[in-house]
């Protein structure tokens, strides 16, 4: 068992087993033995001119898998979709990363890829929102955007010819993430969807599901394009600072940087649901996360109790039930 270490008692073990068996019986109808391991031959039914995709090699006229995963076929293309592996980026993916290094004109981000991703200074929107060439002064002020170890949200722009990855953050919704938690889960659990930014109104929390398996849960930020406005007010504040007492200003700044206790608890509650779901290996979507959070709410569980064995089993049972009913609807 990965991630979460839970000790189950006898009844909980049986309940978990039954829930997992139910899941197995549901999916066995869908795909019949499409999973392969390393060096298994993939049957291609003697079709000629198939295209061999990722995770396959040809050997003595047979197609052989080089990964553990599920065989996928798209027309003539046959490839193996790996389950547990590092992130495989695609252009347009929304990702969350951590700044590891600042080098001239670019930031280097750790994004769970085989190399560090590159975020160029020129693919960032400037603070004042004006389009112009980046000067040496901008380069010197790079740390005012992101410093080392900051968590940043961005979009995959393109691949360089040498295989390295370029990012862009040319929109107000991208940028630095503050006042929250970063979780790392296996990337295969996050599905690519239209919407990766979610605002949960009832909790006052923002949720960013990065395609690379980095999940951000933080306090809701109202409008992100206040950068230019902020600077004006900052200068105003500095002007007033000199006239009024500095003590008063410090208090106000503290007030701004303070996250209410309730929001912090909500953040932890959502984070714990993600932890439970990912350690069970279930797909992570907003709907499932919300259901899990609601379940913990109706159970009247404390935040820390969500990582206990009882809730772990309950979530598994709930998921089995959910998939059962959705399967019936389709049928």
């Amino acid at each position: 068992m990965r991630g979460l270490q839970v000790s189950l008692n006898q009844t909980q073990k049986i309940r978990l087993q039954r829930a997992l068996q139910q899941l197995e019986s549901l999916s066995s109808k869908v795909n019949v033995n499409a999973s392969v391991t390393v060096a298994d031959t993939i049957p291609v039914n003697f079709e000629d001119n198939i295209l061999k995709g990722h995770g396959t090699v040809e050997r003595d006229g047979e197609l052989v898998a080089t990964l553990c995963g599920v065989v996928e076929r798209v027309n003539k293309l046959v490839y193996v979709r790996p389950l547990r592996s590092r992130y495989k980026p695609e252009i347009g993916d929304i990702i969350v990363g951590r700044v590891v290094e600042i080098v001239p004109k670019r930031w280097k981000l750790e994004i769970n890829f085989s190399q560090d991703a590159v975020l160029m200074l020129s693919s960032m929107n400037l603070a004042d929102g004006i389009q112009r060439r980046r000067t040496a002064v901008d380069e010197l002020n790079m740390r005012s955007f992101f410093e080392e170890n900051d968590v940043v949200c961005a979009e995959v722009r393109n691949f360089q010819h040498d295989g390295s990855l370029q990012l862009q953050a040319r929109s107000q919704k991208y940028g630095k993430l503050e006042k929250g938690q970063l979780l790392t889960i296996p990337p295969y659990l996050v599905k690519r969807r239209k919407q990766h930014f979610h605002h949960m109104e009832q909790y006052g929390v923002d949720l960013v599901l990065g395609c690379n398996g980095f999940i951000w849960i933080g306090e809701h930020v109202e409008v992100r394009d206040t950068m230019s406005g902020d600077q004006v007010s900052n200068t105003e504040q500095q002007n007033t600072k000199s006239s009024t007492s500095t003590n008063y200003m410090d208090l106000e700044e503290q007030e701004q940087g303070y996250t209410p206790l309730e929001t912090r608890q909500n953040i932890c509650r959502i984070a714990n649901s993600v932890r439970v779901l990912s350690s069970l290996g279930f797909n992570i979507t907003v709907e499932v996360i919300m259901e899990t959070v609601d379940l913990s709410g109706t159970m009247n569980l404390e935040v820390h109790e969500m990582l206990g064995s009882e809730f772990y089993v309950l979530v598994a049972e709930k998921e089995a039930e959910r998939r059962c009913s959705s399967g019936k609807k389709k049928g």
Binding site: M1, T37, C68, G69, R84, R86, S114, D116
Partner: protein, 241 residues
């Protein structure tokens, strides 16, 4: 000393061509990209794989293939007498090199340029055949990490004591000083990636012993394949549509 009694049983009650019990578990280290615990009888090894990830030492970066690194260590509590071993002694350096070369032969390194793959193996219980157990554990961990490989590498040892070839030597048989052949193969390609022996053996007997070890490797491969198959299926089922 008598290693095979007249009934044909060895010291631990096995037959000459019998292996110890195998046990494998995937996903033992939560922070690693891939990990596994592999047991052959009382020998127990844990392996963790990190990567492919950014190269730590820029000067080692290669533009056409991935850098593979391996570190072998032995827990202080793994042997009968508890000894504080200095890190990086001759034996562990040699074993790290052997494991690295064996694994490098099967990883498709050209698919992951500018990156590095770290393999860490640690012996938790040593009862002979740690070399083989380490290689088997590393294979499982690499497969779990989703690193593309030509084939699974499996390894097994065999020896020759009391005029009989013995499969999968344990510590007592290993320390008897007889010949000990460790073989690593790619089972579906039928190729040898590792062959070590630190004694002399006549040609015909050597061939017998090596053949026995290869049979052992194939048995290990079957077991590893079963474990991986089960693990993949379980992950896919849990994930759902």
């Amino acid at each position: 000393m008598e290693f095979v009694n007249p009934e044909g049983l060895r010291l631990d009650g096995r037959r000459a061509m019998e292996m110890r019990q195998l046990r494998a578990q995937i996903g033992a280290v939560s922070k690693a990209d891939g990990s596994a615990v592999f047991e052959m009888g009382n020998t127990k090894v844990i392996a963790a794989v990190y990567g492919p990830r950014e190269v730590q030492n820029r000067s080692q970066q290669m533009s056409d293939q991935a850098l593979v690194r391996c570190e072998y260590s032995m827990a202080n509590f793994s042997t009968g007498d508890r000894m504080r071993k200095p890190k990086g002694d001759r034996r562990s350096t040699e074993l790290s090199l052997v494991i690295r070369q064996t694994m490098e032969a099967c990883i498709l390194t050209h698919l992951m340029p500018h990156s590095q793959i770290d393999i860490f193996v640690q012996v938790l219980q040593a009862d002979g055949g740690t070399r083989s157990a380490c290689i088997n554990a590393a294979t499982l961990a690499l497969a779990d990490a989703g690193i593309p490989m030509r084939d699974l590498v499996t390894s097994c040892s065999a020896g020759y004591l009391n005029n009989t070839s013995l499969l999968d030597l344990n510590y007592v048989e290993d320390s008897a000083g007889g010949p000990d052949v460790t073989v690593g193969i790619l089972p579906t390609l039928d190729k040898v990636t590792l062959l070590q022996m630190d004694a002399k053996l006549p040609m015909d007997i050597f061939e017998n012993v090596m053949q026995l070890a290869i049979e052992g490797c194939k048995a290990v491969a079957n077991y590893i394949r079963e474990v991986l198959q089960e693990n993949t299926k379980q992950l896919e089922v849990r994930r759902g549509v």
